[in-house]
């Protein structure tokens, strides 16, 4: 092999003049192809780049006399192999330069851009957590993001973790089987429910088959979601009874390690639970509460009703166990109230060791005592679940895996004492059913005001969206034996007759799905009238049997066909019968119940007005407590 212009070769400049035609013949189509792919405005740059690259290729071949390249064994007699070798070397040189040019063209501008500021915008990891876990997970999210930034040489923040609340246990199955409500919450990459039972409910996979071994489970019903359980956020924490020292002493339980539900019955005036409609620990608490009386006989049902009536429903029922303990603290200020909470032990330990409920220093005498319920004690076990929805965000997925590992290593401190029993999915289902059955069966027909003024703004959205939220939340409270239906009034943009949207039927899964589907279609109220009295009269006369009509309205009767007095008279007649339904009007404005509704309430025993100044849950609590 020789270097430099070999003997007999023209000078470089003359050589270039010789090859300009084939050079252009390759550079022009190559640069045109690149410009077509990456932008016509870059054609001059691509052309110059291709010419330069080809000159470089040629220069390499010009400087190295390739004719001199031949392996010793093919020096004599095997000239064909030498030709192939030389051609291969030439083609490889050209290809190598093309690869370098292409890679440089796509990578360098981006590196230059990042170099200006130094960091790329961070990847995103959305994390969904049950109310029981959300505060602890949120705290770890910040620590994890800082940790990842500390690993980077430039301390670039490579990831942003966003934590949000999971849907209630009763909606998990629907959420993961195709009806993910994106208007409520993003698609999570990591999910930290309260229990593995929730994962089983969401996927339909039996609990025993949920192994933390990296196996992906595909969700049912055509949803693109795949799930994988991957360790736990801390060790299981049993649910325990928590009470102030005063209450423990008054119940004669000082020093007792456990207590039976029966011994609390009749003595305990209030039982504080995280909201059972929204939390697994609340539902687990209900199931544990009823666990000694699951029978269908009259005595068992009566006992369940007694136990159910202990559950505190006033003052807003929180989702978070920590806030439940603040509610307990609030109740305890009344020296005559006997109140106990049923929450995860870790929540009590955090309360006793921290600054709960806005208190800067918690005196020792205000620490809560804990008791185990004798019999079955459920535990929350906080599995970590990876979720994937398709797509190619490999970097985000990698950080999601990383955050899962982080959570597994940085869980809450282990709770003291026995771990408690694994909560099964059937416990959650049965808890919900038992809670519904502990009260009298209810039969509700929702009448939704669809007049245009329902599009008016109020706290939290519009009156219509608030009404839809109330109905949607109410659906989580129904159980076996209940019935539900849905109407709108008026039935169309004009006219006055109400329209049935979903016929009155048992409040089972398919019925609640039908109502939810219909609610999804109701986007903007379009009617020019509000025939409130006429709608109630019409629906009251439509069905039979003991029913309750729940009317969601912004409260002013505006009937195109009749004057207020005559329509009111017909309303009174319709409700003036022993078999007439009860009517609850939820007035969805800041002003609450209008004067005419207040007047009707004063004179009609079956007519009630609930003012709209509360949250959806508070309104439902008020409503269901009256039913």
């Amino acid at each position: 092999m020789s270097f430099g212009p070999p003997l007999g070769k023209p000078p470089w400049s003359e050589h270039v003049r010789e090859i300009w035609l084939p050079l252009l013949g390759v550079a022009v189509p190559a640069s045109a192809a690149l410009a077509g792919a990456y932008g016509v405005e870059r054609l001059p740059l691509f052309f110059i780049g291709c010419v330069a690259a080809l000159l470089f290729v040629d220069g390499v071949l010009y400087a190295i006399d390739v004719r001199g390249l031949r392996p010793p064994q093919v020096r004599h007699g095997l000239g064909g192999a030498g030709v192939v070798l030389r051609a291969g070397f030439a083609a490889f040189t050209g290809a190598a330069v093309a690869v370098v040019l292409f890679a440089g063209w796509t990578t360098v501008p981006r590196a230059v851009s990042w170099g200006d500021e130094g960091c790329r915008p961070p990847a995103e990891v959305p994390v969904m957590a049950a109310p029981e876990n959300i505060d602890a997970v949120d705290a770890q999210a910040d620590l994890y993001a800082e940790h990842e930034a500390a690993q980077d040489a430039d301390r670039c923040a490579p990831v942003r973790v966003t934590v949000f609340e999971a849907p209630p246990p009763g909606e998990l199955e629907a959420a993961f089987t195709g009806m993910w409500d994106l208007a409520e919450r993003p698609h999570p990459k990591v999910w930290v429910p309260g229990t593995r039972a929730a994962v089983s409910l969401a996927t339909g996979v039996p609990l025993r088959d949920l192994r933390p071994d990296g196996m992906w489970i595909r969700s049912r019903g055509g949803s693109p979601a795949r799930l994988r359980t991957d360790g736990s956020f801390g060790t299981p924490s049993p649910l325990v009874l928590a009470a102030s020292q005063r209450v423990v002493e008054s119940l004669g339980l000082t020093g007792a390690g456990s207590v039976s539900w029966d011994s609390l019955l009749g003595r305990t005036t209030r039982l504080v639970l995280p909201r059972p409609e929204r939390t697994e620990s609340g539902l687990a608490g209900v199931f544990a509460l009823f666990s000694g009386s699951l029978g269908g006989d009259g005595a068992a049902q009566a006992r369940r009703r007694q136990l159910f009536n202990m559950i505190d429903r006033d003052g807003g029922v929180p989702d978070d166990p920590g806030e439940s303990l603040c509610r307990l603290r609030e109740l305890d200020t009344d020296g005559s109230t006997i109140a106990v909470a049923f929450v995860p032990l870790t929540s009590v330990e955090k309360y006793n060791s921290g600054q709960p409920c806005g208190v800067s220093v918690l005196p020792r005498e205000e620490h809560l005592a804990t008791l185990r319920p004798s019999g079955w004690t459920p535990a929350i076990d906080r599995p970590i679940v990876q979720v994937r929805w398709g797509g190619e965000d490999e970097e985000g997925n990698r950080f999601a895996d990383g955050f899962g590992d982080w959570l597994a290593r940085h869980g809450p401190p282990p709770a003291k004492g026995p771990a408690g029993s694994t909560l099964m999915p059937e416990h959650l289902i049965q808890g919900r059913n038992l809670m519904a059955e502990a009260r009298r069966p209810i039969s509700i027909e929702f009448l939704l005001d669809y007049s245009a003024t329902m599009n008016g703004r109020t706290r939290g959205g519009t009156r219509l969206t608030n009404a839809l939220t109330i109905i949607d939340n109410a659906l989580t409270r129904f159980g076996r034996g209940d019935r539900v239906g849905l109407w709108r009034f008026p039935g169309g943009a004009t006219g006055r007759a109400p329209a049935m949207l979903v016929p009155h039927a048992p409040a089972d899964g398919p019925q609640t799905m039908r109502i939810r589907t219909k609610l999804d279609e109701l986007r903007r109220a379009d009617a020019g009238t509000t025939p409130l009295y006429h709608a109630i009269t019409a629906v009251a006369g439509h069905g039979t049997g003991r029913r309750t009509l729940v009317v969601l309205t912004d409260g002013e009767n505006d009937d195109p066909a009749g004057d207020d007095l005559s329509t009111q008279r017909r309303l009174r007649d319709a409700l003036d019968d022993a078999d007439s339904p009860d009517v609850y009007v939820l007035a969805l404005t800041g002003a609450g119940c209008a004067n005419d509704l207040v007047a009707l309430e004063a004179t009609l025993p079956k007519f009630h007005c609930v003012d709209g100044k509360r949250t959806a849950d508070a309104m439902l609590d008020a409503l269901f407590s009256k039913l």
Binding site: P29, F164, R457, G461
Partner: protein, 444 residues
């Protein structure tokens, strides 16, 4: 050197280059994205349903249709899903509706392409508002709706509406100094630890002639004097029995402000027009004869959302997306958005909404917006927030530092009671360094 060998080398070069280009194109997102079906606009929830109705009402002659897919109304969750969708490369949406401060991040990360609509076609959009869609010299998004704050006040308690920040503070002081003042504080701001804090504090800093800006290369320029003066004045204004600025502002968002105003705790409230409309129409304690609103005196920060084209899209889809954006920002649609949704128009010629478009009932007109003239005056002269590809982190760092400063100073009645609080110079140095890191996407 044989010409054949040279030709082989050139061919090797050309074939490899073309093969890599074709491969790149074949596997790139535009070729994988759908070329048929309705366009999807992905954005935060609009409770009035107006945006959805307008998007779905678009009917170009070629038969293309569009749908609006709603995201949570909480802006952190909305941002999370938008970024996840963009990064997943599933082409789940062609148009993103994004908060204007997010535009630099989406542009820098390659989630959106330049919008490709000549700015000459967008002349009707208010220039300050259109400017919010620009980043590094290119137009990345077209504003769909904007926002600017009002000063809502008790006209039964206050003689004349304040026209400057000084008049506002003087009026607040005078009101609370009255022997039997009906209010416990003069003014409520939104200073809870969320984006509202950043907006409110920027307005106060700018009122003092200062600013905090971020240049295209991520350099933060902070007027230390104005920032310190703002913090000191705010702290002083929140002290005392009946302070001119309610200390509850540190825990207040828009809803808490409305509550305090309705309950008669304050006489002045800084808030967005939608909340003023809610006060007027929700039938609560105060009647229209008791409340009024003017553009917030002094500096005002722009809010709003903009339409951006997801990257990368096949050419036909991108073209259709531009047509949709042009349609949504045309005058009739802007007027309808204002009338039926209370969404503040981005065009100066859309502030006379079609009052009959959304009607009401026979007895009651549906009112979804406050006086158009006042809102237009509030928008004019309002300015955008700092432009940064790391705006969410920048804002979080800014409010974390300033919020803590305010809480600490209010908790301590005298410097000797705050042994741990750093001196102001140290505080400003730490703040500047933290903002500088945040504006370059760095942690710590």
């Amino acid at each position: 050197m044989s010409n054949r060998l040279r030709l082989v080398a050139f061919l090797g070069f050309a074939i490899t280059l073309l093969a890599m280009t074709v491969y790149g194109e074949a596997t790139s997102a535009p070729s994988r994205c759908r070329t048929e079906g309705p366009l999807t606009v992905l954005g935060g929830r609009d409770d009035t349903g107006t945006r959805r109705a307008l998007v779905q009402g678009w009917q170009p002659k070629d038969g293309t249709r569009a749908e609006f897919r709603e995201l949570p109304s909480n802006s952190d969750l909305e941002h999370s899903e938008l970024v996840s969708t963009a990064r997943s490369a599933t082409c789940a949406a062609e148009v993103f509706l994004i908060d204007t401060p997010w535009i630099p991040e989406f542009a820098e990360a390659g989630y959106i392409d330049p919008v490709g609509i000549p700015e000459g076609d967008l002349k009707a959009i208010i220039p300050e508002v259109l400017k919010t869609g620009r980043f590094r010299g290119k137009l990345w998004a077209v504003p769909l709706n904007t926002d600017a704050p009002l000063l809502i006040y008790r006209k039964d308690l206050v003689g004349k509406a304040p026209g400057t920040p000084e008049e506002l503070m003087a009026a607040a002081r005078a009101l609370t100094a009255r022997p039997k003042s009906p209010v416990t504080s003069g003014l409520m701001l939104q200073l809870h630890d969320y984006e509202g804090f950043t907006v409110n504090i920027l307005e106060l800093i700018r009122d003092l002639g200062g600013d905090i800006t971020v240049s295209d290369d991520g350099t933060v320029t902070m007027d230390r004097g104005a920032v310190l003066a703002t913090l000191r004045q705010l702290t002083a204004a929140m002290r005392g029995d009946r302070p001119p600025v309610s200390p509850a502002s540190l825990d207040a968002d828009e809803n808490a402000g409305i509550d305090a105003f309705e309950q008669g705790k304050v006489a002045f409230l800084r808030d967005w027009p939608a909340f003023y409309t809610q006060l007027l129409t929700d039938g609560a304690k105060l009647g229209p004869d008791q409340i009024d609103a003017v553009p917030y005196p002094g500096e005002r920060v722009l809010g709003g959302q903009s339409l951006a084209i997801a990257a990368p899209l096949p050419d036909d889809r991108a073209r259709a997306a531009r047509e949709l954006i042009t349609y949504l920002t045309d005058a009739p649609q802007q007027k309808r958005m204002f009338a039926c949704g209370g969404l503040v128009p981005v065009r100066g010629d859309a502030y006379e909404p079609d009052a009959a478009a959304c009607g009401g009932t026979h007895r009651k007109r549906l009112v979804l917006h406050a006086d158009p003239g006042k809102i237009r005056d509030a928008v004019r002269g309002a300015r955008a927030r700092p432009s940064s590809a790391y705006y969410p982190e920048f804002s979080r760092v800014l409010r974390r530092h300033l919020h803590e400063y305010l809480r600490e100073r209010l908790r301590c009645t005298a410097p000797s009671a705050c042994p741990k609080a750093p001196d102001d110079n140290t505080f400003l140095n730490r703040l500047a360094a933290a903002l500088d890191r945040a504006a370059r996407g760095r942690a710590g």
